[in-house]
Amino acid sequence: MERAAPSPGLLQPGQREIELDVRTQDVEINMGPQHPSTHGVLRVLIRADGEIVTAAQSHLGYLHRCAEKIGENVDWLQYLPYTDRYDYLAAMNNNLGYSLAVEKLLGIEVPPRGQYLRTLIVELNRIASHLIAFGTYGLDIGAFTPFFYAFRERELLLDIFEKICGARLTYSFIRPGGVFNDAPPGWLQHVEDFCRQFEKKWPEYWDLLVENKIFIERTANVGIIPRDLAIAWGCTGPMLRGSGVDWDLRRDQPYLVYDRLEFKVITGVGYRGTVGDCFDRNYVRMLEMVESLKMVRQCLDQMPEGEVSHPDVGLIIRPAPGEAYVGIENPRGELGHYVVSDGSKIARRVRVRAPSFCNLSLVEHIMPGTMLADAVAIIGATDIVIGETDR
């Protein structure tokens, strides 16, 4: 399993001769940072022999926003809004990861209702994030309409979030010690209504995109990531599960109340092609939406009464000295927060282990040999958020 990292090899310009004295020259294409299908400002330098990609190299940093430096300069609680902004599609999950890490140093436990509310809203946010992944993946493949359908349902979710915390995208709702506030009256009913609506819509997506013959042709057997490669490169989340690895932090290292919920861990099974292809990654996301919906329902059923926050946590937090790493299952994979405290009100170090960053590092190595259109499909199936890869 000694797998040395293959060098991308874009650095020397090269020509190669093929038979019949036809001299071909590879084309170097610069894809991004402004390109419709790089999901933000990723830049991929592709060397292509006609339509075939022979080498690829990712360039990051076009959205580097110094989140980790800011973490060392602002208060523990002041940092919370920055967590919203590095993975803006799943801001609740980021709030949660950071809050859990801080709570680990604080040594406090959130009251049961707070934990249930957190689980509920994190799963809702996972649905919202996967909806975007689904919609934009359709866009990458060339189908425009799924994107709009996904946004229609996402707006319903954003209404729910807005009702509980007032923001559409950057919530800062889950914070060290609990959540910002209790659910307003009628909110849980609202969530239930959404579940009923979404249940009806989900099969439409499945039929519209996932079972579409052209979609299957475009994604099945494309960008295959074998199991051991995915593990060795530190892939997590749907990227890892799409390769058939049965690993989900929610089940295997349960946090919040996940050990009280029943759900299935979805893994890629090669439904239309080989295990670990782009189709499987999308398939995992699609089915995870259903699982998340199930979890939301269970949270609604089990929702206890009581406080939502720990009473001792104020605006100025002084965690005990020490260091804590907490990894949670973000929609994109394992989102880790490694915080180091010296007992003061400002952190020594806030390290974010961003799942997209790790997942993306593999992408340039599976691209060679595919076609140009597949390169787009592979990037899309990785479901990256550039705010998170660059932080």
């Binding site: 493949i141 060339g142 579409n212």
Partner: protein
């Protein structure tokens, strides 16, 4: 800019059509034949230009509305008032006013010539369309052949645009277009053969005339003896036409998610609007060919049986345009529903499936005609 080669080559049409009749009305003593030809060509050009612009603008507006409604939104609503009807006008005027960028390092001649060539071919195709019994600019004997051969010239324009732009994305788009059109010419041409065999003529006028009759039963697709060939051949034609007009799922030449904007990445303003117009004009032409060969052209129950005259001609134009626009609508519907195919899959589909299928259909159509010719008395 454009002189119609066909009209110029056929100087004195044997029967008077609308334009020559008009000219004779103005000059009762008759004009020299060349003046008739030149003036006729000029009027025809103006008419085609106007018609194409109107149709293309309407199609663009329709596309945005169709896309909007398929995507559970509304599409243009404000510009001009009712459902944004003036949206295309605003777009057109704005594109006229935009700065016309010619890229550094571009092949200036090709870069500037390409949009004109592309739009010119689109206009030329309208010449052979039979809008009404008295309204066809030129009844070309080789009508179908003329159309498909002219439509491939568009590809040359696209390649010129792609090459001249000094942009890698554009070159990719152009090369994809070249490969795609070269491979889909064959199924496109072959899928037109069954109706041609049925009508025994390449002329669209003859084809339309042969589909006259009560109800739609004389239309090729509904013909009781031929529908089993007509329907598959129409489907083949439609798929090939989608590829020929660069429409989704075959819009590889400008595939937005891969090639930014493909061959017209570097085009702005008026030149870009030429490509835009051409796309919709070509869609209309392809749909019109489909309507003329399979769906009875201008024939419609009630309209066909009317006495000849201006009213009938007008209604025929309406019928023909509506039929074509319905097919254009189907093209839009397809575009906003399906994902895009990859280039190798496009080739596979073209060479391995569409070409053999169309050959089989041609063969079947020929056999059928042979037997029908043998037994004319027993069959209706």
């Amino acid at each position: 800019m454009l002189t119609d080669p066909v009209t110029a080559a056929a100087p004195a049409p044997p029967q008077g059509n609308l334009w020559t009749d008009l000219m004779h009305g103005v000059f009762p003593d008759g004009m020299p034949w060349w003046m008739v030809a030149v003036l006729g060509a000029a009027v025809a050009f103006a008419a085609v230009m106007l018609f194409v612009t109107v149709i293309a603008m309407f199609s663009i507006w329709l596309e945005r509305k169709v896309a909007g409604h398929i995507q559970v939104r509304l599409g243009p609503m404000r510009v001009g008032g009712w459902h944004g009807w003036a949206q295309s006008v605003a777009d057109g005027v704005k594109l006229l006013l935009k700065e016309d960028v010619v890229v550094t390092g571009a092949d200036r001649l090709l870069f500037k010539l390409a949009p004109a060539l592309v739009l010119g071919t689109a206009l030329a195709m309208f010449v052979a369309l039979p809008f009404a019994p008295g309204l066809q600019i030129a009844d070309v004997d080789l009508g179908v052949f003329f159309l498909i051969s002219i439509s491939s010239i568009t590809t040359i324009g696209v390649i010129m645009a792609g090459w001249g732009s000094n942009n890698k994305w554009s070159v990719y788009g152009a090369m994809r277009e070249a490969a795609q059109v070269a491979s889909y010419e064959i199924p496109l041409g072959l899928s037109l053969m069954p109706p041609v065999i049925y009508y025994g003529s390449l002329s669209l006028r003859t084809a339309t005339d042969m589909q006259a009759g009560w109800l739609g039963l004389h239309w090729y697709v509904f013909d009781p003896l031929h529908f089993w060939i007509a329907i598959p051949s129409f489907v083949l034609f439609f798929v090939a036409a989608l590829a020929e007009t660069k429409r989704a799922p075959f819009d590889l030449a400008e595939s937005e998610s891969e090639l930014v904007a493909g061959f017209h990445t570097e085009y702005s303003g008026i030149r870009f609007s030429f490509f835009f117009l051409e796309e919709y004009a070509a869609m209309f032409v392809m749909s019109a060919v489909g309507a003329a060969l399979w769906f009875g052209g201008w024939n419609f129950p009630g309209v066909t049986q009317m006495p000849e005259g201006a009213l009938r001609d007008f209604l025929c134009v309406v019928v023909f345009t509506v039929k074509s626009m319905l097919l254009v609508f189907v093209m839009m519907w397809v575009r906003w529903t399906l994902p895009r195919i990859r280039i190798d899959q496009v080739m596979t589909l073209g060479y391995k499936y569409l070409t053999p299928l169309s050959l089989i259909l041609v063969f079947a159509a020929a056999v059928l005609e042979y037997f029908l010719a043998l037994a004319p008395s027993v069959l209706p």
